[in-house]
Amino acid sequence: MTMKKINTPLSDDDVMKLKAGDTVLITGVIFTGRDAAHKKLVDLVNAGEPLPVDFTGQLIYYVGPSPAKPGKVIGSAGPTTSGRMDAYKPTLMEHGLKGSIGKGSRNQAVKDALIKHKGLYLASTGGAAALLAKTIKKAEVVAYPELGPEAIYRLEVEDFPATVVNDAYGNDIYEEGRKEYEITG
Protein backbone atom coordinates (compact mmCIF):
# COMPACT_ATOMS: atom_id res chain seq x y z
CA MET A 1 0.00 0.00 0.00
CA THR A 2 1.19 3.52 -0.75
CA MET A 3 2.12 5.79 2.08
CA LYS A 4 2.31 9.55 1.70
CA LYS A 5 5.18 11.29 3.45
CA ILE A 6 4.29 14.48 5.27
CA ASN A 7 6.36 16.96 7.26
CA THR A 8 5.24 19.09 10.18
CA PRO A 9 4.33 21.91 10.60
CA LEU A 10 1.50 21.48 8.09
CA SER A 11 0.24 24.18 5.75
CA ASP A 12 -3.38 24.50 4.56
CA ASP A 13 -2.15 23.07 1.28
CA ASP A 14 -0.66 19.97 2.94
CA VAL A 15 -3.95 19.37 4.73
CA MET A 16 -6.12 19.81 1.64
CA LYS A 17 -4.04 17.20 -0.24
CA LEU A 18 -4.98 14.49 2.25
CA LYS A 19 -8.17 12.43 2.29
CA ALA A 20 -9.74 10.16 4.90
CA GLY A 21 -8.23 6.68 4.50
CA ASP A 22 -4.80 7.90 3.38
CA THR A 23 -1.92 6.30 5.23
CA VAL A 24 0.87 8.73 6.00
CA LEU A 25 4.37 8.74 7.45
CA ILE A 26 4.95 11.84 9.56
CA THR A 27 8.37 13.43 9.99
CA GLY A 28 9.10 16.50 12.11
CA VAL A 29 7.91 17.78 15.45
CA ILE A 30 4.71 16.67 17.16
CA PHE A 31 3.50 17.58 20.65
CA THR A 32 1.92 15.27 23.19
CA GLY A 33 -1.08 16.04 25.36
CA ARG A 34 -3.80 14.18 27.24
CA ASP A 35 -6.78 15.12 29.39
CA ALA A 36 -5.01 17.13 32.12
CA ALA A 37 -2.77 19.15 29.73
CA HIS A 38 -5.74 19.92 27.47
CA LYS A 39 -7.72 21.24 30.39
CA LYS A 40 -4.87 23.53 31.38
CA LEU A 41 -4.44 24.83 27.82
CA VAL A 42 -8.12 25.60 27.37
CA ASP A 43 -8.28 27.25 30.81
CA LEU A 44 -5.47 29.59 29.63
CA VAL A 45 -7.35 30.41 26.42
CA ASN A 46 -10.51 31.17 28.40
CA ALA A 47 -8.55 33.43 30.75
CA GLY A 48 -7.11 35.26 27.74
CA GLU A 49 -3.55 34.17 28.56
CA PRO A 50 -0.91 33.04 26.02
CA LEU A 51 -0.31 29.32 25.44
CA PRO A 52 3.03 27.82 26.58
CA VAL A 53 3.63 26.30 23.13
CA ASP A 54 3.11 27.72 19.63
CA PHE A 55 0.77 25.19 18.03
CA THR A 56 0.62 26.91 14.62
CA GLY A 57 0.50 24.20 11.97
CA GLN A 58 1.23 21.50 14.54
CA LEU A 59 -0.28 18.16 15.56
CA ILE A 60 -0.98 16.97 19.11
CA TYR A 61 -0.52 13.26 19.79
CA TYR A 62 -2.81 11.88 22.51
CA VAL A 63 -0.41 9.61 24.38
CA GLY A 64 0.62 8.72 27.91
CA PRO A 65 3.83 6.72 27.39
CA SER A 66 5.14 4.04 29.70
CA PRO A 67 8.36 5.04 31.56
CA ALA A 68 11.49 4.99 29.37
CA LYS A 69 13.96 2.19 30.07
CA PRO A 70 17.53 3.43 30.63
CA GLY A 71 19.11 4.36 27.30
CA LYS A 72 15.77 4.78 25.51
CA VAL A 73 14.33 8.06 24.23
CA ILE A 74 10.83 7.19 25.43
CA GLY A 75 8.83 4.22 26.70
CA SER A 76 6.13 2.47 24.66
CA ALA A 77 3.97 5.20 23.14
CA GLY A 78 0.71 4.26 21.43
CA PRO A 79 -2.39 6.44 21.13
CA THR A 80 -5.10 6.83 23.75
CA THR A 81 -8.84 7.22 23.08
CA SER A 82 -9.41 10.61 21.44
CA GLY A 83 -13.06 11.15 22.39
CA ARG A 84 -11.99 12.42 25.82
CA MET A 85 -10.32 15.40 24.11
CA ASP A 86 -13.35 16.32 21.94
CA ALA A 87 -14.35 19.14 24.27
CA TYR A 88 -10.98 20.88 23.84
CA LYS A 89 -9.94 20.36 20.24
CA PRO A 90 -12.06 23.05 18.48
CA THR A 91 -10.70 25.74 20.85
CA LEU A 92 -7.10 24.74 20.18
CA MET A 93 -7.75 24.73 16.44
CA GLU A 94 -8.87 28.35 16.72
CA HIS A 95 -5.36 28.96 18.04
CA GLY A 96 -3.48 27.47 15.11
CA LEU A 97 -3.47 23.73 15.87
CA LYS A 98 -3.78 21.75 12.61
CA GLY A 99 -4.88 18.47 14.05
CA SER A 100 -4.34 15.53 16.33
CA ILE A 101 -3.39 11.88 16.42
CA GLY A 102 -5.19 9.35 18.60
CA LYS A 103 -7.59 6.45 18.24
CA GLY A 104 -11.37 6.13 18.09
CA SER A 105 -14.11 8.35 16.74
CA ARG A 106 -14.63 12.11 17.23
CA ASN A 107 -17.82 14.10 17.74
CA GLN A 108 -19.48 16.38 15.21
CA ALA A 109 -18.03 19.57 16.75
CA VAL A 110 -14.50 18.28 16.08
CA LYS A 111 -15.38 17.25 12.52
CA ASP A 112 -16.89 20.70 11.88
CA ALA A 113 -13.78 22.40 13.28
CA LEU A 114 -11.61 20.36 10.88
CA ILE A 115 -13.59 21.70 7.93
CA LYS A 116 -13.64 25.27 9.25
CA HIS A 117 -9.93 25.50 10.13
CA LYS A 118 -8.60 23.08 7.48
CA GLY A 119 -7.42 20.41 9.85
CA LEU A 120 -6.97 16.65 10.21
CA TYR A 121 -7.70 13.91 12.69
CA LEU A 122 -5.39 10.94 12.32
CA ALA A 123 -5.20 7.58 14.07
CA SER A 124 -2.13 5.54 14.77
CA THR A 125 -2.45 1.85 15.59
CA GLY A 126 -3.77 1.43 19.13
CA GLY A 127 -1.57 -1.03 20.95
CA ALA A 128 1.35 -0.81 18.49
CA ALA A 129 3.15 1.16 21.17
CA ALA A 130 6.60 -0.45 20.95
CA LEU A 131 6.66 0.01 17.17
CA LEU A 132 5.52 3.64 17.34
CA ALA A 133 8.13 4.44 20.02
CA LYS A 134 10.87 3.45 17.56
CA THR A 135 9.91 6.33 15.25
CA ILE A 136 10.37 8.84 18.09
CA LYS A 137 13.95 10.12 17.94
CA LYS A 138 13.86 12.79 20.61
CA ALA A 139 11.54 13.68 23.48
CA GLU A 140 11.63 16.66 25.82
CA VAL A 141 9.13 18.16 28.22
CA VAL A 142 8.08 21.67 27.13
CA ALA A 143 5.19 22.36 29.51
CA TYR A 144 3.57 21.09 32.72
CA PRO A 145 6.36 18.78 33.98
CA GLU A 146 4.29 18.32 37.16
CA LEU A 147 1.88 16.15 35.15
CA GLY A 148 4.47 13.38 34.75
CA PRO A 149 3.51 11.15 31.78
CA GLU A 150 0.71 13.63 31.00
CA ALA A 151 3.12 16.58 30.58
CA ILE A 152 3.40 18.20 27.14
CA TYR A 153 6.38 16.71 25.33
CA ARG A 154 7.95 17.93 22.13
CA LEU A 155 8.69 14.83 20.08
CA GLU A 156 10.87 14.59 17.00
CA VAL A 157 9.54 11.79 14.83
CA GLU A 158 10.72 10.10 11.68
CA ASP A 159 8.22 8.23 9.51
CA PHE A 160 5.64 7.94 12.27
CA PRO A 161 2.79 5.88 10.69
CA ALA A 162 -0.82 7.10 10.90
CA THR A 163 -4.06 6.98 8.94
CA VAL A 164 -6.24 9.99 8.17
CA VAL A 165 -9.61 9.38 9.85
CA ASN A 166 -11.31 12.76 9.35
CA ASP A 167 -10.20 15.13 6.60
CA ALA A 168 -11.02 18.79 5.93
CA TYR A 169 -13.76 17.75 3.50
CA GLY A 170 -16.00 16.10 6.10
CA ASN A 171 -15.07 12.49 5.26
CA ASP A 172 -14.75 9.84 7.99
CA ILE A 173 -12.91 6.57 7.32
CA TYR A 174 -14.47 4.84 10.35
CA GLU A 175 -17.92 5.33 8.79
CA GLU A 176 -16.90 4.77 5.19
CA GLY A 177 -14.61 1.79 5.84
CA ARG A 178 -17.23 0.07 7.91
CA LYS A 179 -19.90 0.62 5.26
CA GLU A 180 -17.61 -0.76 2.58
CA TYR A 181 -16.91 -4.01 4.44
CA GLU A 182 -20.24 -4.52 6.20
CA ILE A 183 -22.12 -7.66 5.18
CA THR A 184 -25.85 -7.36 5.82
CA GLY A 185 -28.38 -10.17 5.99
Binding site: G21, K69, S105, G127, T163, R178, Y181, I183
Partner: protein, 279 residues
Protein backbone atom coordinates in the same frame (compact mmCIF):
# COMPACT_ATOMS: atom_id res chain seq x y z
CA UNK B 1 -0.30 -29.43 54.66
CA UNK B 2 2.35 -27.82 52.45
CA UNK B 3 3.87 -24.51 53.45
CA UNK B 4 4.22 -21.76 50.84
CA UNK B 5 5.98 -18.53 51.74
CA UNK B 6 4.16 -15.48 50.43
CA UNK B 7 7.56 -14.02 49.43
CA UNK B 8 7.54 -16.57 46.60
CA UNK B 9 4.15 -15.22 45.54
CA UNK B 10 5.53 -11.64 45.49
CA UNK B 11 8.45 -12.72 43.31
CA UNK B 12 6.17 -14.65 40.95
CA UNK B 13 3.72 -11.76 40.53
CA UNK B 14 6.57 -9.31 39.81
CA UNK B 15 7.95 -11.66 37.16
CA UNK B 16 4.51 -12.33 35.62
CA UNK B 17 3.68 -8.58 35.41
CA UNK B 18 6.67 -8.02 33.15
CA UNK B 19 6.35 -11.28 31.23
CA UNK B 20 2.68 -10.60 30.39
CA UNK B 21 3.36 -7.06 29.18
CA UNK B 22 6.46 -7.87 27.12
CA UNK B 23 5.73 -11.27 25.60
CA UNK B 24 2.56 -11.75 23.57
CA UNK B 25 1.18 -15.30 23.71
CA UNK B 26 1.73 -17.67 20.77
CA UNK B 27 -2.05 -18.11 20.47
CA UNK B 28 -2.50 -14.39 19.75
CA UNK B 29 0.37 -14.43 17.23
CA UNK B 30 -1.30 -17.32 15.45
CA UNK B 31 -4.63 -15.46 15.43
CA UNK B 32 -2.88 -12.45 13.82
CA UNK B 33 -1.40 -14.61 11.06
CA UNK B 34 -4.74 -16.36 10.44
CA UNK B 35 -6.48 -12.97 10.25
CA UNK B 36 -3.85 -11.61 7.88
CA UNK B 37 -4.64 -14.42 5.46
CA UNK B 38 -8.36 -13.72 5.50
CA UNK B 39 -8.31 -9.93 5.66
CA UNK B 40 -9.17 -8.27 2.34
CA UNK B 41 -8.78 -4.61 3.32
CA UNK B 42 -5.28 -3.24 2.50
CA UNK B 43 -5.43 -0.84 5.47
CA UNK B 44 -6.58 -3.72 7.64
CA UNK B 45 -3.68 -5.88 6.49
CA UNK B 46 -1.27 -3.03 7.20
CA UNK B 47 -2.59 -2.79 10.77
CA UNK B 48 -2.25 -6.54 11.34
CA UNK B 49 1.32 -6.44 10.03
CA UNK B 50 2.09 -3.57 12.40
CA UNK B 51 0.70 -5.58 15.31
CA UNK B 52 2.96 -8.54 14.49
CA UNK B 53 6.02 -6.29 14.17
CA UNK B 54 5.06 -4.52 17.39
CA UNK B 55 4.84 -7.79 19.31
CA UNK B 56 8.24 -8.80 17.92
CA UNK B 57 9.85 -5.52 19.00
CA UNK B 58 8.31 -5.77 22.48
CA UNK B 59 9.64 -9.31 22.85
CA UNK B 60 13.14 -8.55 21.53
CA UNK B 61 13.63 -5.37 23.53
CA UNK B 62 11.62 -6.54 26.56
CA UNK B 63 9.42 -3.43 26.55
CA UNK B 64 5.63 -3.23 26.94
CA UNK B 65 3.70 -4.07 23.75
CA UNK B 66 1.18 -1.38 24.74
CA UNK B 67 1.83 1.71 26.87
CA UNK B 68 -1.36 0.94 28.78
CA UNK B 69 0.07 -1.83 30.91
CA UNK B 70 -3.28 -2.19 32.56
CA UNK B 71 -4.97 -2.87 35.83
CA UNK B 72 -3.30 -5.96 37.32
CA UNK B 73 -6.11 -8.51 37.52
CA UNK B 74 -4.93 -11.59 39.40
CA UNK B 75 -6.57 -14.98 39.69
CA UNK B 76 -5.38 -17.21 42.52
CA UNK B 77 -6.24 -20.90 42.63
CA UNK B 78 -5.35 -21.74 46.19
CA UNK B 79 -5.00 -25.42 47.05
CA UNK B 80 -6.85 -26.17 50.29
CA UNK B 81 -3.85 -28.13 51.60
CA UNK B 82 -1.59 -25.09 51.37
CA UNK B 83 -0.59 -23.18 54.48
CA UNK B 84 0.54 -19.67 53.53
CA UNK B 85 3.34 -18.35 55.76
CA UNK B 86 5.44 -15.20 55.93
CA UNK B 87 2.71 -12.57 55.73
CA UNK B 88 -0.55 -11.38 54.26
CA UNK B 89 -1.49 -12.84 50.83
CA UNK B 90 -3.11 -9.64 49.53
CA UNK B 91 -0.15 -7.52 50.60
CA UNK B 92 2.26 -10.03 49.04
CA UNK B 93 0.42 -9.74 45.72
CA UNK B 94 0.37 -5.92 45.90
CA UNK B 95 4.10 -5.95 46.60
CA UNK B 96 4.62 -8.13 43.53
CA UNK B 97 2.68 -5.63 41.42
CA UNK B 98 4.66 -2.72 42.90
CA UNK B 99 7.91 -4.45 42.10
CA UNK B 100 6.93 -5.68 38.63
CA UNK B 101 5.48 -2.34 37.52
CA UNK B 102 8.43 -0.42 39.04
CA UNK B 103 11.38 -2.59 37.94
CA UNK B 104 9.72 -3.38 34.61
CA UNK B 105 9.15 0.25 33.55
CA UNK B 106 5.42 -0.39 33.26
CA UNK B 107 2.92 2.47 33.38
CA UNK B 108 1.13 3.18 36.66
CA UNK B 109 -2.49 3.64 35.69
CA UNK B 110 -4.52 3.30 38.90
CA UNK B 111 -6.21 6.30 40.53
CA UNK B 112 -8.84 7.38 43.05
CA UNK B 113 -12.08 7.41 41.04
CA UNK B 114 -13.26 10.94 41.88
CA UNK B 115 -10.10 12.96 42.58
CA UNK B 116 -8.19 10.95 39.92
CA UNK B 117 -5.11 11.02 42.21
CA UNK B 118 -2.71 8.31 40.98
CA UNK B 119 -1.72 5.64 43.53
CA UNK B 120 1.71 5.81 41.82
CA UNK B 121 2.60 2.11 42.07
CA UNK B 122 -0.27 0.51 40.12
CA UNK B 123 -1.79 -0.96 43.29
CA UNK B 124 -4.18 -2.16 44.41
CA UNK B 125 -4.54 -5.21 42.19
CA UNK B 126 -7.88 -6.87 41.55
CA UNK B 127 -7.63 -10.29 43.22
CA UNK B 128 -9.94 -13.24 42.65
CA UNK B 129 -9.29 -16.24 44.90
CA UNK B 130 -10.69 -19.70 44.26
CA UNK B 131 -10.05 -22.41 46.83
CA UNK B 132 -9.45 -25.73 45.07
CA UNK B 133 -8.35 -29.25 46.09
CA UNK B 134 -4.60 -29.93 46.26
CA UNK B 135 -1.44 -28.36 47.68
CA UNK B 136 -0.45 -25.97 44.89
CA UNK B 137 -0.95 -22.26 44.30
CA UNK B 138 -1.70 -21.25 40.71
CA UNK B 139 -1.29 -17.56 39.91
CA UNK B 140 -2.58 -15.95 36.71
CA UNK B 141 -2.10 -12.30 35.85
CA UNK B 142 -4.19 -10.60 33.19
CA UNK B 143 -3.20 -6.91 32.86
CA UNK B 144 -6.29 -5.16 31.50
CA UNK B 145 -6.24 -1.98 29.42
CA UNK B 146 -8.77 0.78 29.97
CA UNK B 147 -9.77 1.39 26.35
CA UNK B 148 -11.33 -2.02 25.87
CA UNK B 149 -12.61 -2.34 29.45
CA UNK B 150 -14.60 0.88 28.97
CA UNK B 151 -16.57 -0.67 26.11
CA UNK B 152 -17.71 -3.71 28.16
CA UNK B 153 -21.28 -4.22 29.42
CA UNK B 154 -23.59 -6.25 31.67
CA UNK B 155 -27.28 -6.75 30.91
CA UNK B 156 -30.01 -8.47 32.88
CA UNK B 157 -31.91 -10.10 29.99
CA UNK B 158 -35.36 -11.65 30.31
CA UNK B 159 -35.47 -15.47 30.39
CA UNK B 160 -37.75 -15.29 27.34
CA UNK B 161 -34.97 -13.56 25.35
CA UNK B 162 -33.26 -16.95 25.01
CA UNK B 163 -30.12 -17.66 23.01
CA UNK B 164 -31.00 -15.00 20.43
CA UNK B 165 -31.13 -12.39 23.21
CA UNK B 166 -27.53 -13.14 24.18
CA UNK B 167 -26.26 -13.18 20.58
CA UNK B 168 -27.96 -9.85 19.76
CA UNK B 169 -26.65 -8.25 22.96
CA UNK B 170 -23.03 -9.28 22.33
CA UNK B 171 -23.11 -8.19 18.68
CA UNK B 172 -24.65 -4.86 19.71
CA UNK B 173 -21.92 -4.23 22.30
CA UNK B 174 -19.20 -4.94 19.71
CA UNK B 175 -20.97 -2.75 17.15
CA UNK B 176 -21.25 0.24 19.49
CA UNK B 177 -17.64 -0.18 20.63
CA UNK B 178 -16.53 0.37 17.02
CA UNK B 179 -12.95 1.60 16.74
CA UNK B 180 -12.52 2.46 20.45
CA UNK B 181 -11.28 -0.84 21.95
CA UNK B 182 -8.41 -1.14 19.40
CA UNK B 183 -9.89 -3.91 17.22
CA UNK B 184 -9.23 -6.72 16.47
CA UNK B 185 -10.85 -7.60 19.78
CA UNK B 186 -11.57 -10.71 21.81
CA UNK B 187 -15.02 -11.04 23.34
CA UNK B 188 -15.33 -12.68 26.75
CA UNK B 189 -18.98 -13.55 27.34
CA UNK B 190 -20.59 -14.59 30.62
CA UNK B 191 -24.04 -16.16 30.69
CA UNK B 192 -26.01 -16.94 33.86
CA UNK B 193 -25.15 -16.72 37.56
CA UNK B 194 -25.91 -13.45 39.32
CA UNK B 195 -25.19 -9.79 38.57
CA UNK B 196 -21.58 -9.95 39.85
CA UNK B 197 -20.91 -13.56 38.84
CA UNK B 198 -21.73 -12.95 35.19
CA UNK B 199 -19.13 -10.15 34.91
CA UNK B 200 -16.56 -12.45 36.53
CA UNK B 201 -17.39 -15.21 34.03
CA UNK B 202 -16.91 -12.80 31.13
CA UNK B 203 -13.49 -11.79 32.45
CA UNK B 204 -12.50 -15.40 33.10
CA UNK B 205 -13.50 -16.33 29.55
CA UNK B 206 -10.70 -14.06 28.30
CA UNK B 207 -8.10 -16.34 29.89
CA UNK B 208 -8.93 -19.22 27.57
CA UNK B 209 -6.47 -20.00 24.81
CA UNK B 210 -7.45 -18.40 21.49
CA UNK B 211 -8.68 -20.97 19.04
CA UNK B 212 -10.21 -23.20 21.74
CA UNK B 213 -13.99 -23.70 21.96
CA UNK B 214 -16.46 -24.10 24.80
CA UNK B 215 -16.60 -27.86 25.59
CA UNK B 216 -20.40 -27.83 25.27
CA UNK B 217 -21.27 -28.11 21.53
CA UNK B 218 -24.28 -25.81 21.99
CA UNK B 219 -22.14 -22.97 23.36
CA UNK B 220 -19.32 -23.74 20.93
CA UNK B 221 -21.83 -23.16 18.11
CA UNK B 222 -22.97 -19.94 19.77
CA UNK B 223 -19.35 -18.71 19.94
CA UNK B 224 -19.00 -19.37 16.23
CA UNK B 225 -22.28 -17.65 15.39
CA UNK B 226 -21.36 -14.51 17.36
CA UNK B 227 -17.87 -14.39 15.83
CA UNK B 228 -19.31 -14.57 12.30
CA UNK B 229 -21.87 -11.86 13.03
CA UNK B 230 -19.31 -9.54 14.62
CA UNK B 231 -16.95 -9.96 11.69
CA UNK B 232 -19.76 -9.05 9.30
CA UNK B 233 -20.05 -5.64 10.98
CA UNK B 234 -17.18 -4.42 8.81
CA UNK B 235 -15.43 -2.48 11.61
CA UNK B 236 -12.11 -4.19 10.81
CA UNK B 237 -8.62 -3.72 12.27
CA UNK B 238 -8.54 -0.39 14.18
CA UNK B 239 -11.99 0.41 12.80
CA UNK B 240 -10.73 1.39 9.33
CA UNK B 241 -13.02 -1.18 7.70
CA UNK B 242 -12.30 -4.85 7.11
CA UNK B 243 -13.17 -8.44 7.90
CA UNK B 244 -11.25 -8.82 11.15
CA UNK B 245 -13.18 -7.13 13.94
CA UNK B 246 -12.87 -9.95 16.47
CA UNK B 247 -10.28 -12.70 16.74
CA UNK B 248 -12.37 -14.90 19.02
CA UNK B 249 -15.49 -15.21 21.17
CA UNK B 250 -15.24 -17.18 24.43
CA UNK B 251 -18.34 -18.06 26.43
CA UNK B 252 -18.48 -19.16 30.08
CA UNK B 253 -21.78 -20.40 31.50
CA UNK B 254 -23.20 -20.82 35.02
CA UNK B 255 -26.75 -21.75 36.14
CA UNK B 256 -29.08 -18.77 36.60
CA UNK B 257 -31.97 -18.09 39.02
CA UNK B 258 -35.38 -19.13 37.59
CA UNK B 259 -36.33 -15.44 37.33
CA UNK B 260 -33.03 -14.13 35.86
CA UNK B 261 -30.94 -14.29 32.72
CA UNK B 262 -27.78 -12.20 33.19
CA UNK B 263 -25.31 -11.73 30.36
CA UNK B 264 -22.00 -9.87 30.26
CA UNK B 265 -19.46 -8.95 27.60
CA UNK B 266 -15.90 -8.13 28.57
CA UNK B 267 -14.03 -6.74 25.59
CA UNK B 268 -10.32 -7.37 25.37
CA UNK B 269 -8.09 -5.73 22.81
CA UNK B 270 -5.53 -7.58 20.67
CA UNK B 271 -3.00 -6.88 23.46
CA UNK B 272 -4.55 -9.93 25.10
CA UNK B 273 -2.14 -10.45 27.95
CA UNK B 274 -2.19 -13.25 30.48
CA UNK B 275 0.52 -15.39 32.03
CA UNK B 276 0.40 -18.01 34.72
CA UNK B 277 2.63 -19.95 37.04
CA UNK B 278 2.09 -22.75 39.56
CA UNK B 279 3.97 -22.75 42.85
Amino acid sequence: MREVNVADITAAIAELSMDANYNLGDDVYKAFYDALEKETSPTGKNVLEQLITNANIAKEEQVPMCQDTGYAVIFVELGQDVHLVGGDLNEAIFEGVRKGYGDGYLRKSICEPITRANTKDNTPAIIHVDVVPGDKVKLTIAPKGGGSENMSAVKMLKPSDGAKGVVDFVVDVASKAGSNPCPPIILGVGIGGTFEKVAYLAKKALLRELGSSNPDPFYAAMEKEILEKVNKLGIGPQGFGGRTTALAVHIEVFPAHIASFPAAVNINCHAARHKEVTI
